[in-house]
């Protein structure tokens, strides 16, 4: 069994045909992941007992002659901001270095009910704040395609694990691009579903009105399968949607003839790098498949970064107030009063980027500034969402770049926070609108760096998004495209 290139369907076929048992898959996947992990540092820690126990349950089911679940025996990596009962969940933060959650996120429960094997937890920017995974308190992750470069972020570990083959699929979280951008940098598929499509219960809150859980996979079909399992209403998350979950794999028939795609002119004007020409070639491929491509306007794009960094930091400053040294974080020693204990614990525990965002969020919510910043940003958010609504009256999907450039070098941007924020421009608009969007591999630069193409559709239009991504993936031999 070639653990590094297995798909969900291959695992299932192997299990059903009794060529191997889930316990063997778990053992081999763990052995391979532990051996390969030092190359990237994608995983922070492994959960062998849990993976093996889940595998044994799958094997028992199959031995009983029962139909195995849709993710039977599939090794999964989980971003360390998603809580796992009994397995350390650090959020990439010193504050939660020893935190062992007493419950599972709903997405984790659903994965395991479907037969998945949780291999371990992946590194990420502290509390998912960052675009490079360099803000983790536990060291950076290296890009499997180029070890001197970042994997993107904040879900860099999950993207790297899937690209490296140390997991078949992975869960990440996305608030402003944290799934799509690392997927693009590492050359895998990364999906941010409609806001509310996947329950956020057990996802450590960063910006609650923008947070999503979504899958990483090496193929569109695998991503579609995982989303089908984790999507759906969950009473534990009041914002999770009631809308029925279709079998997304049914949409993967390769037929996109006559589909109308929009190319936002605002996204292309600044795109001069090699990433831009790869996206243009990708669009040409979609045209050849029979899609009708036209230019569209998303006129408020230029205001998206400003809007996002008001709303996301305001919500974060409130959400991160809970890390105060009382209930689950480590506590700074020797504080005379409660107020000192809070200040010392948080001052010593948070890394620079978290502090910066807490400060910005507290500032924009502070007396006298609320209307000028937070309320203003919420209004502009409505305009950005309206841009997409108008676009989707004209087109079935929007095709766009994911990032203005491919993976950058470790350390290259750490000293310029605004430049790092500005690089999120193409992913943040979709996040603000709450629409489904994904990154699908679109080729490699001459240096061999992966570049992803983004596909965005209307609310709950995931099937359309997967259809386009899958048809595109089938064309395979894009210039510069390499396996895994």
């Amino acid at each position: 069994m070639e653990i590094a290139s297995l798909t969900i369907d291959e695992i299932r076929e192997g299990l059903v045909a009794r060529r191997f048992r889930a316990e063997e898959v778990a053992g081999e996947a763990l052995r391979f992941a532990e051996a390969e992990n030092p190359k990237t540092g994608a995983y922070l820690h492994f959960s062998p007992e849990r993976a093996l126990a889940a595998a044994r349950r799958v094997d028992e089911e199959i031995a009983r002659g029962a139909e195995p679940g849709p993710l039977a025996g599939v090794p999964v990596a989980v971003k360390d901001v998603i809580v796992t009962r009994g397995i350390r969940t650090t959020c990439g933060s010193k504050l939660l270095e020893n935190y062992i959650p007493p419950y599972d996120a709903s997405a984790i429960t659903r994965l395991e009910e479907a037969g998945a094997l949780i291999l371990g937890k992946t590194n990420c920017d502290e509390f998912a704040m960052g675009s490079s995974t360099e803000n983790s308190a536990f060291g950076p992750v290296r890009n499997p395609a180029a070890p001197d470069r970042v994997p993107g972020g904040s879900s860099g570990g999950s993207a790297a694990a899937v690209a490296q083959g140390t997991a078949v699929v992975a869960l990440g979280s996305d608030t402003g691009g944290s799934i799509r951008q690392p997927a693009s940098f590492c050359g895998v598929c990364g999906v941010t579903p409609t806001y509310g499509r996947v329950s956020r219960y057990g996802l450590t809150a960063f910006a609650s009105s923008l947070d999503h859980i979504g899958p990483f996979a090496r193929t569109v079909k695998d991503a579609a399968r995982v989303l089908g399992v984790i999507a759906g209403r969950d009473w534990r998350d009041a914002t999770s949607a009631e809308a029925p979950v279709p079998d997304y794999t049914k949409a993967l028939d390769g037929n996109v003839k006559g589909m109308k795609l929009g190319l936002p002119r605002e996204y292309l004007k600044d795109l001069t790098s090699e990433s831009g020409s790869l996206i243009e070639r990708g669009v040409a491929v979609l045209r050849k498949l029979g899609c009708e491509v036209r230019e569209i306007g998303l006129p408020h794009t230029d205001y998206a970064i400003a809007t996002y960094y008001v709303i996301a930091t305001a919500e974060a400053s409130s959400n991160l107030a809970r890390y105060d040294g009382v209930r689950y974080t480590s506590r700074s020693g020797d504080s005379a009063t409660l107020a000192d204990m809070y200040r010392n614990t948080r001052g010593e525990g948070f890394g620079a980027e978290c502090k910066r965002r807490i400060m910005l969020g507290t500032y924009v919510l502070s007396a006298g500034y609320y209307d000028a910043y937070y309320l203003k940003a919420q209004k502009v958010r409505a305009l950005i969402a309206r841009d997409f609504e108008r676009a989707f009256q004209e087109v079935d999907a929007v095709v766009a770049p994911v990032s203005p450039f491919p993976a950058f070098r470790l350390g290259e941007k750490v000293d310029d926070p605004l430049a790092m924020y500005l690089s999120d421009i193409f992913t943040i608009t979709g996040s603000l609108a709450g629409i489904p969007c994904m990154s699908v591999p679109c080729g490699r630069t001459t240096e061999g760096l992966p570049v992803g193409m983004q596909i965005l559709t209307r609310h709950f239009g995931e099937a359309t998004m997967f259809r386009i991504a899958d048809a595109f993936e089938r064309t395979g031999g894009l210039p510069g495209r390499q396996a895994g």
Partner: protein, 99 residues
């Protein structure tokens, strides 16, 4: 200049963050740059635009209600398991009010 060091210290106090002097100086510069960029929002006339505080989609008025069923809570033992200083079934903290 959008923000002074004094304001940075004030905001850090609101956020319960102890900052060193070097951090105060650094964050003043960083926040200044970011706030300068955010000032861009004022170019837009948003008169009459309803603020978007959530992503909304069509659903029944009761769609966000959970079933009225009793669900067992975590229990105090599990809830206290990660506390830096649990004691007698409570979270212990340093003195709040001087007598």
């Amino acid at each position: 200049m959008k923000i002074t060091e004094q304001e940075v210290r004030y905001v850090a106090g609101l956020a319960n963050l102890r900052l060193g002097e070097a951090e105060v100086a650094r964050f003043r510069v960083d926040l200044d740059q970011i706030l300068e960029h955010i000032g861009k929002l004022n170019e837009l006339d948003t008169e009459g635009v309803a603020p978007m505080s959530q992503v909304l989609f069509d659903a029944d008025a009761t769609a966000t209600l959970r079933p009225d069923a009793i669900v067992p809570p975590l229990g105090s033992q599990a809830a206290l398991a990660n506390a830096p200083e649990p004691g007698a079934g409570y979270f212990k903290v340093p003195k709040v009010i001087e007598r």
